[in-house]
C-alpha cells in the first residue's frame, strides 16, 4: 500500500479560556490518499474546521495543537519549520474556506491574487502565471476570465468568489485540497454547482480532497470515504455506503434521521432531531460523549473503554460499545 497523502493520528487541539481548557479536537485520526475524497462530517462546533486548519498548520494563535502523527506525503508537519510549511501551502496543499465574501482581499484584483500564488512559489514567469490564472478562471466558470482578472472581489457574487477561491487554490497545482464547508455560505442552487465543480476538478487534477461539511447529503455524492465527527472525536468511519447505509454509531443514525427525503421513513413522516445538547468540552471528560443524548446508552457508556475505537473492518471504525450490533 502506498503512503497516504495526509495522515492524521491522535490530533488534539485545545483552546485555553477563562473557564478552563477546551478540548476542541480530542484525538482525531484519519488519512487522505492520493486522488481520494474524504468527507469529514459533523455539526457546528464539533472541531472539524479546527482539524482542517491544524492540517494546514494555520490554527489561530490561541489554539494549541499536539498530534501523534500529522504528516503530508511523509513529511512531519508538526516539526517542519514555518518556512518549509509556507513552501508547502498553496503549492502542494491548498485550502478553500467557508465564506467567500471575506476570504478574498478586497483591495487587490482577482488576477493579482491568483498570480500571487504562482509568483510566491516561483512556478514560472508573470506571463505564464497570468495564462494559468486565466485558464483556471475559465475552467472554474469565472467568465469572461480575462475581464474578471482585473475586477475586485466586491464586484463578484458569492458563487463567483468561491469559484475564484477554487481557481486560486489550484494555481500551485496542489496534490491535496482542503475545502472547509465550501458551499455552506452559498445559495442552494449555487451549492450544487460548486459541489459538482469540486468533484470534477478532484478527478481532473487527481486531487486528494478533504471535504469538510455538516451536510450528510453531500457525502453520498462526492466521498470515497467518510469520517463522522462528534464533540472533537471521530466516532465513525467507512465508505459512504457503509456509513449511510449501515450506520453503526447512534450519532450517525441521528444525523441521518435529520436528513429529509433519501428514502428513510415514509413520505410525510416527521424530520428527526437529536435531543439534548453537546456536552461541555471544558475540563476533563471521559466515556462516550454522546451518551447523554443517546437512546441506547447504558451504565458502561460512562467508562473509558466506551470511547475506544472498534475496528469492524479495514477503514471501518466505530467508537461505540455496541458497534458490533447491527442496527
Amino acid at each position: 500500500m502506498t503512503m497516504p497523502l495526509l495522515e492524521v493520528e491522535g490530533l488534539r487541539v485545545t483552546i485555553d479560556g477563562p473557564a478552563g481548557t477546551l478540548r476542541a479536537v480530542d484525538g482525531v485520526g484519519f488519512s487522505v490518499g492520493r486522488g481520494e475524497t474524504l468527507c469529514l462530517v459533523g455539526e457546528s462546533g464539533c472541531g472539524k474546521s479546527l482539524t482542517a486548519l491544524a492540517a494546514m498548520r494555520l490554527l489561530p494563535r490561541a489554539a494549541r495543537m499536539t498530534a501523534d502523527r500529522l504528516a503530508f506525503d511523509g513529511l512531519d508537519l508538526t516539526s517542519l519549520p514555518e518556512r518549509a510549511l509556507a513552501d508547502l501551502r498553496g503549492r502542494r496543499m491548498a485550502m478553500i474556506f467557508q465564506d467567500p465574501m471575506t476570504a478574498l482581499n478586497p483591495v487587490h484584483t482577482v488576477g493579482d491574487q491568483l498570480v500571487e500564488v504562482f509568483d510566491r512559489h516561483r512556478l514560472g514567469s508573470r506571463a505564464e502565471g497570468r495564462d494559468r490564472a486565466v485558464r483556471l478562471l475559465e475552467r472554474t466558470g469565472v467568465r469572461p476570465a480575462a475581464e474578471r482578472m482585473g475586477q475586485y472581489p466586491h464586484q463578484l457574487s458569492g458563487g463567483l468568489r468561491q469559484r475564484v477561491m477554487i481557481a486560486m487554490a489550484l494555481m500551485g497545482d496542489p496534490e491535496l485540497l482542503i475545502a472547509d464547508e465550501p458551499t455552506t455560505a452559498l445559495d442552494v442552487t449555487i451549492q450544487a454547482q460548486i459541489l459538482r465543480l469540486l468533484r470534477e476538478l478532484q478527478r481532473e487534477f487527481a486531487l486528494g480532497l478533504l471535504l469538510i461539511t455538516h451536510n450528510l447529503g453531500i457525502v453520498a455524492r462526492v466521498a470515497d470515504r467518510v469520517a463522522v465527527m462528534y464533540a472533537g472525536r471521530v466516532v465513525e468511519t467507512g465508505t459512504p455506503s457503509e456509513v449511510l447505509g449501515d450506520p453503526r454509531h447512534p450519532y450517525t443514525r441521528g444525523l441521518l434521521s435529520c436528513l429529509p427525503g433519501a428514502g428513510r421513513g415514509p413520505r410525510g413522516s416527521r424530520l428527526g432531531a437529536i435531543p439534548g445538547v453537546v456536552p461541555s468540552l471544558v475540563g476533563p471528560v471521559d466515556g462516550c460523549l454522546f451518551r447523554n443524548r443517546c437512546g441506547e446508552a447504558e451504565a458502561d457508556c460512562a467508562t473509558t473503554a466506551a470511547e475506544a475505537p472498534r475496528t469492524l473492518a479495514p477503514g471501518r471504525i466505530v467508537r461505540c460499545l455496541k458497534a458490533g450490533v447491527t442496527a
Binding site: 494555520l58 491548498a94 465564506d99 476570504a103 478574498l104 487587490h108 500564488v117 475586485y152
Partner: protein, 305 residues
C-alpha cells in the same frame, strides 16, 4: 472615479463656503470691534468714526460679501497693527510652519507605522507595551515641558543642536521631535488596531494558506487594508500641524503661523486673525480632499462604488 472626484470637490467647495461664513461671524460676535479698536478711553464719536472708517457700520451680510469678494481675489485685508497685507504676513510665516509640520509628520509616521504594525503582530508583548507607553507619553507630556527638556539636554548640555530660531534645518530637529511625538500616538493606535483587525481577517488566513511569507502577508495583505483609516487621521493631524503650534513655536522661537495667530489675537488685529482662520480651514479642506483621493486610490470599494 471622475464622478467620485467631482462629488468630493463639490462638497469641499460647500464646506469652504460655510467655514468662511462661520469664521467671519465668530469674529464679529466676539465683541464690538469698533469699541475695541478705538480703545477704552475713546469717546462715542471716536468709536463711531472708527466704525465707519473700517466699514463696520454696514449690515453684516454686506460686510461678509465684501470681505469674501476680496478674499477670492487674494486680498485678505490689511493688518490693523502694521498696515501690511495679511496675506503677505502669512506668506512670510508659512515656510517655517510648513517645514516644521512636514518634518514632524515624517517623524511621527516613521515611528508610528512600524511600531503599530509590530505591536499588532505581537499583542501584549514587551514591544507592544513599550510602544503603548511611548504613545501614552506622547499624549500626556505637555509640549512646552518636553521641548524645554530636549533643549536642555541636546542643546545646552550636549550642544548637538541649536536651541532656537529657524535658520537651518538643524534648528528644526528639536521642535520636530517635540511635535512629532505628540502627533505619533493617534497614528500608532490607529495602525495597531487596524492591523489587529486585518490580521484577524479571513483574507489574511487565505494569504497564509497560499504560502505567502510574513512580510508579504503583513504588508501586501494586512497593512494595505489597515492603512486606509491611517491616511485619514494623518491628514487631520497634518492639518493641525500646518495651523501652527503656538506652544512649540514659542518655546523654540520659531516665527511661524502659530506665533502670528497668537500675536494677532492679542492685538485685536481681526483682519489677520480672519485670514489665518480662513487659511487653516482651507488647508484642512485641501488635505481632506487629498486623503479622500488617496483612500479612493487605495480602496476599490470606494473608487468603483
Amino acid at each position: 472615479m471622475i464622478r467620485f472626484l467631482l462629488r468630493r470637490l463639490a462638497i469641499s467647495v460647500l464646506v469652504a463656503l460655510s467655514v468662511s461664513i462661520v469664521a467671519f461671524a465668530l469674529l464679529r460676535m466676539s465683541g464690538d470691534l469698533a469699541q475695541e479698536l478705538a480703545g477704552e478711553r475713546a469717546t462715542a464719536e471716536q468709536v463711531e468714526a472708527v466704525r465707519v472708517a473700517n466699514g463696520l457700520d454696514r449690515p453684516l451680510p454686506v460686510q461678509y460679501l465684501d470681505w469674501a469678494q476680496r478674499a477670492l481675489r487674494g486680498d485678505l485685508g490689511v493688518s490693523l497693527f502694521s498696515g501690511e497685507p495679511a496675506a503677505s504676513l502669512i506668506a512670510a510665516r508659512l515656510p517655517v510652519t510648513a517645514t516644521l509640520a512636514l518634518t514632524s509628520m515624517a517623524l511621527a509616521l516613521a515611528l508610528a507605522v512600524p511600531l503599530g504594525v509590530i505591536a499588532a503582530t505581537r499583542p501584549n508583548s514587551w514591544i507592544d507595551r513599550v510602544s503603548l507607553m511611548l504613545a501614552v507619553f506622547g499624549q500626556a507630556i505637555p509640549n512646552f515641558w518636553f521641548g524645554l527638556i530636549l533643549m536642555l539636554v541636546f542643546g545646552v548640555y550636549l550642544r548637538w543642536t541649536p536651541i532656537s530660531g529657524s535658520d537651518t534645518l538643524a534648528h528644526f530637529v528639536l521642535p520636530s521631535v517635540t511635535l512629532g511625538l505628540s502627533a505619533m500616538p493617534a497614528i500608532m493606535r490607529m495602525t495597531r488596531s487596524g492591523m489587529i483587525d486585518a490580521l484577524d481577517a479571513d483574507y489574511v488566513r487565505t494569504a497564509r494558506a497560499k504560502g505567502l511569507l510574513m512580510p508579504a502577508v503583513l504588508v501586501r495583505h494586512a497593512l494595505r487594508n489597515a492603512v486606509l483609516p491611517v491616511v485619514s487621521i494623518t491628514a487631520v493631524q497634518l492639518g493641525a500641524l500646518l495651523g501652527g503650534s503656538v506652544v512649540v513655536e514659542s518655546v523654540f522661537a520659531l516665527n511661524g503661523i502659530g506665533q502670528l495667530a497668537y500675536q494677532s489675537i492679542q492685538r485685536l488685529d481681526f483682519p489677520v486673525v480672519q485670514a489665518i482662520v480662513l487659511m487653516v480651514s482651507f488647508i484642512y479642506i485641501v488635505l481632506t480632499f487629498l486623503s479622500d483621493i488617496a483612500n479612493a486610490r487605495l480602496d476599490p470599494r470606494i473608487r468603483l462604488a
